[in-house]
C-alpha cells in the first residue's frame, strides 16, 4: 500500500472517529424537547461547557446513546466528586445530556 493510500485510510478513520465527538450546540428546541419537561437555555449551555471541559480530565467523552436516560443522572453523580462538580453543575450536565437525547428522538 503506498503512502497516499495509507494517509487516505488514516484520514477516513479520524473523520469517522470525529463523528463520535457528538456534543451539539444548544438550541431553543432543546428547551422543550420533551413534553412536560422544560430545560432552561442558560443551564443547558453551562451543562455543555462543563461536559466538554470537566469530563475529559479523566476520560474521553462517551457516546450519549451508550447509556439510558434513567442511567445518566447516576453516572454523572458517581463522578461528580472527582470532577469537582457542585450540585447545580452536575444537574446542568445531566440536563444537557437528556435534552440532546430528547431532541434527537
Amino acid at each position: 500500500m503506498n503512502k497516499l493510500s495509507m494517509l487516505v485510510v488514516l484520514g477516513g478513520l479520524l473523520v469517522s472517529c470525529e463523528s463520535i465527538n457528538y456534543v451539539p450546540p444548544v438550541t431553543s428546541q432543546m428547551t422543550t424537547a420533551r413534553k412536560g419537561q422544560h430545560f432552561d437555555l442558560a443551564t443547558l449551555r453551562e451543562g455543555r461547557t462543563l461536559f466538554v471541559h470537566r469530563c475529559i480530565e479523566c476520560h474521553t467523552l462517551p457516546v450519549l446513546w451508550r447509556y439510558s436516560t434513567e442511567d445518566w443522572p447516576g453516572i454523572v453523580d458517581s463522578m461528580s466528586y472527582r470532577a469537582s462538580l457542585k450540585p447545580a453543575e452536575r444537574e446542568a450536565i445531566v440536563a444537557y445530556i437528556l435534552a440532546v437525547r430528547f431532541a434527537e428522538h
Binding site: 465527538n21 471541559h53 480530565e57 479523566c58 474521553t60 466528586y81 469537582s84 462538580l85
Partner: protein, 250 residues
Amino acid sequence: MKPTLRVVIFVGALLPVLSSFGGARHFTFLYEANTSAPGSLELENWVTWRHAVGPGRFNQVDFRHELEYGVTDKFQASIYLADWFYRSDPEHSGSTYSDTAIELIYNFTNPVVDPIGLSIYGELRAGDRLIELESKLISQKNFGPLILAYNATLESVWEGSDLAEREGEFSQALGASYEISPRVSAGMELLHEFVFPEWRDTAKIQNFFVGPNVSYRHRNWFVTITALAQATDTHGEPDFQLRTIFGIGL
C-alpha cells in the same frame, strides 16, 4: 520556621477546603491541553528510570513530587516540591537533590468542540546548581475514544557551580492514546530532542525515543506508565526510559 515546614503547614491547612481530583494523565512524556477543575488539588509522584549500556553505562532513577491545583476553569498551577535522583555509574553512586519548580498552564481551546485544543505552559526550576526555564505549546485533538497530542518545548538551562554551563534544548513529542474502556487507555509516545550545548548547534545532537504507554484510573487516582527506547545512538543519553506517574486527588 523552616521553609519546608511552612509548606507542609500551608498545604495541610488548604486540604480541608479543597475537594477532589485534578484529572488523569493518558501520557507521561506529553502534556494534555485540558486543565484541572477549579478548586481541585492533586498529588502526583513521578518516577523515571533511565538506563544506558556500553562504555558510558549508568542507571538513574528520577523522582518528582508535584502538587497540582486548578485555579480557574482554564488555568492551573503546580509546585514541584522536590526533584531528586539516585544515580549509579562505574565511578560513583548516590542520591542528589536537583531542584524545586513552579509550573503554570493556561488553556485556550477545547480538544473536543474546537478544531484543536491548545494550551501554553511555563515552568521555572531552581536548585542548588541549576536554573531552568521551559516553555511549551500543547496541542491535542480528541477523536471519540482516540486522543492525539503534540507538544513543542523550548528549554534554557544554566547549571554548574556558578551556573556557567549553558544549554538549550528544543523537543517535540507526539502521542496517541486509545481508550479501551473508561478506566483503561493504551497508546504510543514519540520524543524527539535537539540539544544545543552553549546554545550552539555545532554538536548536532539529536535523540529520538519511541515506546508504548498504558494508563489506568479509578475513583480519585490514576497510574500511567510509558516505556521508551532510544532509536538513535547518542552517547550519554539513556537507551531505555521507564516513567510512571501516580496521581491521587486530595
